[in-house]
């Protein structure tokens, strides 16, 4: 429960240590209990966040109720699973994107291109080795090397300049997309799945669902759990979070921040490349998909909040579900149904559902 008196107490600076959810900040060299947002205390920010989540939940429940009147229960569950498995791919992308943004403050618009390239490399390697898993790793590694090159050779020269960085990555997308078209042609390509992931999965008597999509969903849940664990409970996570909050201080504390930057960029690129191969199992790769998938990833992080891992989970699930239901119920407007929730969320919370105010 929100307690204004409690807020006031921490505002004037009680002698107790700050509670969970508030942070100490230095204002003019003096330790202070003030929040770091122009709106006041971090507690208020949190309350605002919870209220937004509540409203989102109410709208979602209302929408689900309406959707249930439009379709049978079986179709409804199929759509939920379709949405969540697409959301799983979006989560892979958004997690890497958010990671890179959080640490380096770079919006890597080449992320869609990384996805496409990783997918194509994975398909080729899977074909030549016959091993699906080797294909996934190879796709990730290929893009990771490209990420290393991008970060070390190009982005490092313009470090800290927001706009040039973004423009460079958009230039890179065009190069990757066009060269992929040159290398792999314009036909839709899918990855060869191993036999144990083919075919449907049966629940009860009448409910069948593709095994592969369930596998993707499971993989995303595992990755999300691991990432959130690393972020919250390990030293690496602590360094990354500290880097997000205050780069200068963490560098002054003896952490090699340049190495952290490179590692974060490579990690984000690796997941993007890997997700391209995994995604090619049910979303055929074709030229132009780099931009389409980038749009979805952007909407996920805009809705979820840039730089927030939990935001990526929430945003990916929401966008995946919205897309799947919209395609079933309002096929001609499926892009608009993505646009409308994003517009509304932006008006209420310009930094996304779980994003911090800047």
């Amino acid at each position: 429960m929100y307690d204004p008196i409690q807020d006031r107490a921490s505002f004037v600076g009680s002698s107790d240590l700050p509670k969970r959810g508030t942070r100490r900040l230095t204002v003019d060299g003096e330790p202070s209990q003030l929040g770091d947002t122009p709106h006041g205390l971090v507690d208020l920010e949190r309350r605002d966040r919870i209220r937004t989540l509540g409203i989102t939940a109410v709208v979602a429940v209302g929408f689900i109720a309406w959707a249930l009147t439009q379709m049978s229960l079986l179709t409804f569950f199929t759509q939920i699973l379709n949405g969540l498995s697409f959301g799983a791919i979006l989560f892979f992308l958004a997690a890497g994107f958010t990671m890179i943004f959080g640490v380096l403050r770079i919006a890597n618009l080449a992320h869609g291109g990384f996805y496409l390239l990783g997918g194509y490399v994975g398909i080729t390697i899977t074909l030549s080795t016959g091993q699906f898993w080797i294909g996934i790793v190879a796709g990730g590694l290929a893009v990771m090397v490209l990420g290393l090159f991008t970060e070390r050779v190009m982005l490092r020269r313009i470090r800290g300049m927001e706009k040039p960085e973004v423009l460079l990555t958009i230039g890179l997308t065009f190069v990757i997309g066009d060269l992929s078209l040159w290398g792999w042609g314009g036909d839709p390509r899918v990855v060869a799945k191993p036999s144990y992931l083919k075919g449907p999965f049966q629940i009860g008597d009448s409910f069948f669902y593709p095994k592969y999509r369930i596998f993707v969903l499971g993989l995303a849940i595992i990755l999300a759990a691991i990432l959130i664990y690393i972020d919250r409970r390990t030293k690496i996570g602590a360094i990354v979070r500290a880097g997000v909050d205050d780069r200068e201080t963490i560098a002054a504390l003896g952490v090699n921040i340049k190495a952290v930057f490179t590692a974060a960029f490579m990690f984000g690129s690796f997941i993007a490349g890997m997700s391209g191969v995994i995604g090619a199992g049910f979303l055929a790769l074709l030229p132009g998909q780099d931009f389409e998938i980038l749009l979805f990833a952007l909407v996920v992080v805009i809705i979820g909040g840039l730089g927030s891992l939990e935001g990526a989970v929430l945003g990916a699930a929401l966008v995946g579900l919205i897309d799947s239901f919209a395609k079933a119920l309002l096929p001609e407007l499926s892009f608009f149904t993505l646009f409308a929730p994003m517009a509304i969320i932006l008006m209420v919370r310009p930094n996304g559902l779980l994003g911090k105010a800047t």
Binding site: I170, F291, L295, L298
Partner: protein, 345 residues
Amino acid sequence: MTTLRNLSLTTKVKLGLLLAAVTASVILPYLVDTFILRLLTLALVSSLFAMSVDLMAGYTGLVTLGHAGVLGTAMYGVGYVASKTEGGIGTQILVGFVAGMAAATIFGLMAMRSTGVYFIMITIAQGMIVWGLASLLVDITGAENGLLGIRRPVSVESDFRYYYVVLATMLACSAALYVIVHSPFGYALKGLRGSETRLRMLGHNSAFLKFYMFLVSGFFATVAGILLVYLNEFVSPSDVILGASALPVLMSILGGIGTLVGPVIGAFVIVFLRNWVSLQVDRWPTIMGLIFILVVLFAPEGLVGALKSWWYRRISETGTTKNPTLQDHEMTEAVHTGSQALDSD
């Protein structure tokens, strides 16, 4: 009173070059063939579009990668009336104008509260959604087949005459943009680039300022869209892809971001380069991407920036003018606002 005589040498050279460029653009159609003439017309339309983008990316420091959404909505507005209804030329232009301005209004309302990278991402999403609608709403946009049957008015049907229509509109719009960027509104936009926080402290409503910026920039993009659709007499989703939004940004940074001349020079270079490259190899997006990367890494001030620093170095050697560092500063600032924005927030 200012007479020609007591203008500085730099201003005289600028005026001379402007006069030469305008004269050349009036005479050129008599000297070139139809193919080059069409490219020149396209370069003029692209210049106007690039200037409208530069008003945001250069003057205000808010890069938009979705402005083809505004341009394209205006094109589709004209195209819809021309190909699906019986509307005359007046109705076509009116509907195109209203559609383009409506898109600019909606985009502005959505993006006006955001800054920096968020702003760029939102504009990308906006542009992509226009592309998505253009590819999906078959009844209105004809999807991949596009809209055919758009015809120029009979009086300006020939490429030759249409060139002069575009030239006149472009010159008028350039003059208007010159007035706008030197007005209090223009300076407020520059203030937004310098530091939004400080501008807010001074009592400006930065969100409304960004919204007005969208409307003004959207107006010129809409005009460019109407000119473009009558030039091509066709509109399809490829007019609103992300590449179409990135191109005017590239033109601006190649020519010189934060100036009005830069986007024009950039547009002419890109339009003719694209045509030349397409004749050699089928890899234009790669070339475009490489130019993006190279310009960002090695020439962030663009051609105008390079030219200006060469000129000032030259005249300071001969000692005819005082220290020009202020203008140089302004330019570098236009390119490097990113680091400033990071510092100030």
